[in-house]
């Protein structure tokens, strides 16, 4: 009997990830933002939509950071501090950043899921079936790539309906937010499709795929039981990198006024709101700008760290 190879640890990638500064800092950033979004109502005494009288100066300018507000009428503390000041309508900026994280991250992640779903399916089918299927799918991908992302997103967003969704109990959900992640997903899948196709081609040339065919496995079984699990590490990395893109595009579209409708807070829309105050009340733009930057940086670092850990032979 041949000597066994040293039992390599199948979870070795986790160890590599935990020793990777890039990946860890990305993970910390992303985790902090996700926690802030989840715990938003407990982190602040203010209401994100409430305009406070003391939030505006007598001249109508946003209140400066540190302004104290009496919330006792609404059952809150008597002296709540606006740590980052107020926005142009007298709403607490920090509160809107926290609640804005909910919308911006949710849209970013949902758009990523849409993009990854479409891109991975197109890439898998093109890379596995080759021939006409590949020709058709990849030319379609190339066509999508020729249209500038922002133009396509604006065009798509204007086509989708705007009537609010009824959630029951009289509550409404703005359709624009739903449209936003569909649109962002639809313009972000092409890069995913190309990379997944390449990876599927590589896996498809391996003899284990031919062995599965020789055993009589059908296409569906080979594609989803054999190939997909081997492509999954690539999909995970792409998921993180794509989220950075979708969050950025969400901020861009909301800034242009196509994304999240008022009064819902979202980082891009808040930058737009704060634009006239660039010189007089910088915090209106700095706050949401830094948040968006942290999210994009976090997901990029996380993706790079995952790539280093899952595929250490192809360091980028």
């Amino acid at each position: 009997m041949e000597p066994a190879a040293p039992a390599a640890v199948s979870r070795a990638w986790l160890g590599r990830f935990l020793h990777d500064a890039q990946g860890l800092s990305g993970l910390l950033l992303v985790a902090a933002l996700l926690l802030a979004a989840l715990l938003a109502p407990w982190l602040t005494p203010f209401d994100p939509h409430q305009q406070y009288e003391a939030g505006l100066t007598p001249a109508g300018m946003p209140a400066t950071p540190g302004t104290v507000i009496d919330l006792s009428a609404a059952g809150g503390p008597a002296s709540a501090v606006m740590r980052l000041g107020a926005d142009n309508l007298g709403r607490d900026l920090l509160t809107r950043l926290l609640f804005g994280a909910r919308i911006s991250l949710a849209v970013g992640l949902a758009a990523m899921a849409t993009a990854i779903g479409i891109g991975a399916l197109v890439g898998l089918l093109a890379g596995y079936f080759r021939g006409r299927v590949e020709l058709l799918l990849m030319r379609l991908t190339d066509m999508m790539l020729t249209i500038p992302t922002l133009v396509l997103a604006i065009a798509l967003a204007s086509l989708l309906p705007k009537t609010p969704l009824q959630l029951g109990g009289g509550r409404e959900f703005p359709r624009e937010i739903l449209n936003l992640f569909i649109v962002i997903g639809l313009v972000n899948w092409t890069g995913v499709a190309r990379i997944i196709r390449g990876e599927t081609l590589r896996q498809g040339s391996m003899e284990y795929v031919e062995a599965a065919r020789a055993l009589g496995c059908g296409h569906g079984r080979i594609l989803f039981r054999h190939v997909l699990p081997n492509v999954l590490p690539t999909i995970v990395v792409l998921g993180s990198l794509t989220t950075a893109n979708t969050i950025l595009l969400d901020a861009g579209l909301s800034y242009l006024g196509i994304g999240t409708p008022p009064p819902y807070p979202s980082w891009g829309a808040m930058i737009n709101d704060g634009q006239p105050y660039l010189l007089t009340a910088k915090w209106l733009i700095l706050g949401p700008g830094l948040c968006a930057m942290a999210a994009v940086l976090g997901f990029n670092l996380l993706g790079q760290g995952l790539q280093n850990a899952l595929d250490p032979w192809r360091r980028g």
């Binding site: 041949e2 066994a4 190879a5 003899e207 284990y208 599965a212 055993l215 081997n230």
Partner: protein, 320 residues
């Protein structure tokens, strides 16, 4: 003599040439017979079409023409249903034990797949059967939950053999199953192949570029050059008295483990021509030491010479 299990007649496989060039004739009219429970060694240089031949017989690549009769029925004309049943009658063992096992499947998953796919046992009996298969190929049955990367090359090749055996096939195409292994490991795997044939009566189409390995295993040998079989016959006869100049050159190139023995060397000139630009006449003539004007003009057909089929104008006694 046992019954004929597989009869291949005039098998052809063509690949589309690059940039609409001439089609590449990878397998160009190959015929042979394989008897049940025996081994046919298919030897030749890399790129001569031997692996393609094996894959065409298993319908893993599409044949352009010819017939492959397996127990009487033409494999190339099987419909989807019959093909599925055929998948449990003929299997393949691959060259590279590293890429031929799915790295995300445990031993149990790898070996359970063929068993369940072809209903060789029920779900409850899978573990017992997988353990039996592991023992059959000389692996410890406690390794059910290990992944391929936890095994050595030789152990992985045993797993590949176990996967092929799971469906209890009558034919296994062995596509260079030893060439990725260390020499000491090769010997053990050769013994495993022989034990399995003796105990289970499985027939092998044993593809290799290593003539000494094939000699040890084969009952019959077929020598392939550029998509055609140039010489085929009983292994002992072909090895002791090769008739085709190509076979002679191949055998002369095999190192002999005895420094006292000096053998005639027949160095071949040049490289194997491209199958896309086949030379006219005999496809071996540009490299052949015996070539005449006729060889450059007319394509030879197989002739019986010294108890075997040889495809050469100059071999054996001159034709009447």
């Amino acid at each position: 003599m046992s019954d004929v299990l597989l009869t291949v007649e005039d098998l052809r496989v063509t690949y589309r040439g690059r940039d609409d060039g001439a089609p590449l004739r990878a397998v160009d009219g190959v015929s042979f017979e394989l008897r049940a429970g025996q081994t046919l060694g298919l030897v030749g240089e890399s790129g001569c079409g031997k692996s393609t031949t094996g894959r065409a017989i298993l319908r893993l690549v599409r044949a352009a023409g010819g017939a492959c009769r397996f127990a009487g029925d033409d494999v190339l004309r099987f419909d989807a249903r019959r093909l599925r049943a055929f998948r449990s009658e003929a299997q393949i063992v691959f060259q590279d034990p590293f890429s031929s096992l799915n790295p995300r499947f445990t031993v149990l998953q790898t070996l359970a797949e063929p068993l369940l796919l072809h209903r060789r046992c029920g779900r409850s009996g899978v573990r017992v059967r997988v353990a039996q298969l592991l023992e059959r190929v000389g692996l410890d049955p406690v390794w059910l939950h290990r992944y391929p990367h936890e095994f050595s090359g030789g152990q992985r090749q045993r797993l590949g053999i176990a996967r092929a055996l799971a469906v209890e096939p009558r034919l296994i195409v062995c596509d260079e199953p030893l060439s990725a292994l260390d020499v000491t490991v090769q010997a053990r795997i050769v013994n495993l192949f022989q034990d399995l044939q003796r105990d289970l009566g499985v027939a092998y189409l044993f593809i290799s570029h290593d003539l000494s390995v094939v000699r040890h295993l084969s009952h019959e040998v077929a020598v392939m050059y550029l998509g055609r079989l140039v010489e085929q016959g009983p292994a002992a006869a072909v090895y002791q008295d090769p008739q085709h100049p190509y076979t002679r050159a191949l055998l002369a190139a095999v190192p002999v483990p005895d420094p006292a023995v000096r053998r005639e060397r027949l160095p071949l000139g040049g490289d194997v021509p491209s199958a896309a630009a086949m030379p006219p006449g005999c496809r071996f003539h540009p490299r052949c030491p015996l070539a005449t004007a006729r060889c450059a003009r007319d394509e030879p057909t197989p002739r019986p010479v010294a108890g075997r089929q040889v495809e050469c104008w100059e071999a054996g006694p001159p034709p009447a």
